[in-house]
Symmetry: C2
Subunit: 213 residues, 2 copies
């Protein structure tokens, strides 16, 4: 049974609260099912947002980028609001009003902190690679100090977060049930396709990913 | 050839500008390929973001929701920053540093306006349904005034927008090309799966969607 208590007023789901859950297991699963999040932040009172790759290690969501990035710098100087969203299916009703979508989403509030210690930074980047491709990190050309230095890694606790999801059929008005139009759910399926080996890649076998079916 | 000039300083892509495009054709195609965007906005100086269904009609991106939604009201009272992002593939290099992702993304700045005229609102909702399921609107139980009244529709021009995309193979350091690990691209494929007709759905045939392959 998902935890039903929001960790803060700004994470409380007001519209359709029956779709909300606040427990770590539910939130982590949605964060892990996606590779891209959107990070909203402020600079000089203006609102900005950037899509970026994210990953999770324990109770933190991580992002990374070039150390020279002004955006990444701004992220540690502002409260942020992160969204993760996955479209799972189209819901087709007899009336326009009851058309909907099945989806999973997470909203996270908080502030990023910079991961500065080289060993911690390497551990975080290992978690990124291992999370996508279990066993791959140790097969790669080892990361070096120059690369570690050029990369910024930020993390934010998944403490102030909420999830919202819809995973059900069609809810039509009773009076509309006989309307002669197809009603149902058309799911979206996302899976990895045929891997394309780089022409000059000389070794190894195709790694599986956490998205491989 | 994509237009290479940003419409404003805040839409100019600074990191990896060779991945940027600012022309309507490129931006519209990415907006149309996604069903969920993230809308970042401000309330009382705080930053918020919500994932929501979007659609496009001409030069505008539309969102909708319950008229009673405080969030939707806030959206028209604040500058917003919208992101659309699609993960297209995982890029696996010989070094951790050159791992990457193929993706398409759009960032839009501006302010929403409310679509208030019932006829305009109905036209916008028709565009949502017809955009997903061509020909479906006229087969549905007709929308009524109560439903139109209960629904808020907002739109924002796609004028101040930028796109960024990566669609290429692996860029490894020359010294690493002989490293004996598989390098290449593992694509993500998203397609509609087997439709699930609602048990009490009595009529019609499964509509195709703009995502049906």
């Amino acid at each position: 049974m998902p935890r039903s208590t929001a960790p803060s007023s700004r994470t409380r789901v007001c519209r359709k609260p029956e779709r909300a859950a606040y427990d770590a297991e539910t939130i982590n699963a949605i964060v892990d099912a996606a590779v891209i999040c959107s990070v909203a932040f402020q600079i000089d009172g203006g609102v900005h947002a950037i899509p970026t790759i994210h990953w999770r290690d324990g109770g933190y969501l991580y992002v990374h980028g070039a150390k020279a990035s002004r955006m990444l710098k701004a992220l540690t100087e502002s409260e942020v609001c992160i969204t993760v969203a996955l479209a799972d299916g189209l819901v087709l009703a007899r009336s326009a009003m009851h058309h909907s979508m099945n989806y999973r989403s997470v909203v996270i509030y908080g502030q990023f902190e910079s991961v500065n210690q080289p060993a911690e930074k390497e551990r975080a980047l290992r978690a990124l690679i291992e999370g996508l491709y279990p066993g791959r990190w140790d097969t790669l050309r080892p990361i070096n100090d120059k690369e570690l230095n050029a990369t910024s890694v930020l993390r934010i606790p998944l403490a102030e977060a909420s999830s919202k999801a819809r995973d059900s059929g069609v809810k039509d008005d009773d009076d509309d049930l006989d309307w002669p139009v197809w009603a149902g759910v058309i799911p979206f399926n996302t899976a990895t396709g045929t891997p394309r080996r780089e022409n000059d890649s000389v070794g190894g076998t195709v790694p599986s990913t956490r998205f491989t079916l």
